[in-house]
């Protein structure tokens, strides 16, 4: 089709803008619930990036886990505590100094790594014997990576049990 590449380019621009806007909202919003919404938007944009990187299975997993599980869990945390940022108690000048320092560090990190990514001579992929299909991922998970696969399920079980134990202690009044 003649116009399909314009549609693809527009879609890619939209996805990148979604990711950037979600990340900015997650970091800069003052209400924490808006910050969680920013994380969800950022996860949707990242899922689009994964789809453009020829990993549709990971795009599905990103939406399922980040939007469906992580953000909902954080919202539970928001409901159980009172996470809104207090008005800054320190002086205005000190606040501005910290903000400037954090912005400087963030800009330095971004500039340095973006420069590395832009100027690096990335070699093109050699022969690609396998495709990245869902079938290939499943075979890799159950043959080559069966030990890490079992280990990560163990990690998840330990995390669930640890979360239950930690959050249970102290119940019945502080």
């Amino acid at each position: 089709m003649p116009g399909s590449e314009f549609v693809l380019a527009g879609l890619f621009g939209l996805i990148v803008a979604t990711t950037l806007g979600g990340a900015l909202l997650a970091v800069l919003a003052t209400r924490v619930i808006r910050s969680v919404a920013g994380l969800a938007i950022c996860a949707v944009g990242l899922a689009g990036c994964y789809a453009f990187l020829q990993s549709p299975f990971l795009a599905l997993m990103e939406i399922l886990i980040y939007v469906g599980a992580v953000c909902v869990t954080i919202i539970f945390g928001v409901m159980l505590t009172e996470p809104d940022e207090p008005p800054p108690p320190e002086s205005h000048r000190r606040e501005a100094w910290w903000g400037g320092a954090a912005l400087l560090v963030g800009a330095a990190v971004f500039g340095g790594i973006a420069r590395l990514g832009l100027t690096g001579a990335w070699p093109a992929a050699a022969a690609r014997p396998a495709d990245g299909s869902v079938q290939a991922i499943g075979v890799a998970l159950l043959t080559t990576y069966s030990l890490p696969f079992e280990l990560i399920s163990l990690v998840l079980v330990v995390a669930i049990l640890g979360a239950l134990v930690i959050a249970r202690r102290g119940r019945g009044g502080p």
């Binding site: 590449e5 693809l8 380019a9 890619f12 621009g13 990711t19 990340a23 997650a26 970091v27 924490v32 910050s35 969680v36 920013g38 994380l39 950022c42 990242l46 990036c49 994964y50 990187l53 020829q54 990993s55 990971l58 997993m61 886990i65 980040y66 599980a69 992580v70 869990t73 954080i74 945390g77 928001v78 009172e82 996470p83 809104d84 940022e85 207090p86 108690p89 910290w98 954090a102 963030g106 990190v109 790594i113 990514g117 990335w122 093109a124 992929a125 014997p129 495709d131 990245g132 991922i137 998970l141 990576y145 990560i152 990690v155 995390a159 669930i160 930690i166 959050a167 102290g170 502080p174």
Partner: protein, 108 residues
Amino acid sequence: MSPLHLYDRPAVYLVLAAFLLAAGGYGLVRRRTFIGMLISGELIFSAAALNVLALNRFVAPDPAKGQVFVLFIIGLAAAEVAITLSIIIAIYRNYRSIHSKELAELKG
């Protein structure tokens, strides 16, 4: 290089991942509550996953390996969120606050 085929270049994804990492670091410094810091940490996890997946798509010979790796990253991020939220709730029960300024003592 034409801007129409920008999605076929690794540099776009790498710069996007660098931005996510920088935003996460900025949020970790600036946020004054633990849940805000947790969200910034999730941004850093996402930056790592995007970086791995971009290099996997454009440089690596076997595209299934990087996807498995990113699946592990996502699983570890989920485990981290569960642990961190339980710690936050335990802290809130004890201190009635999750503002990082007020939790400056280690002895409980």
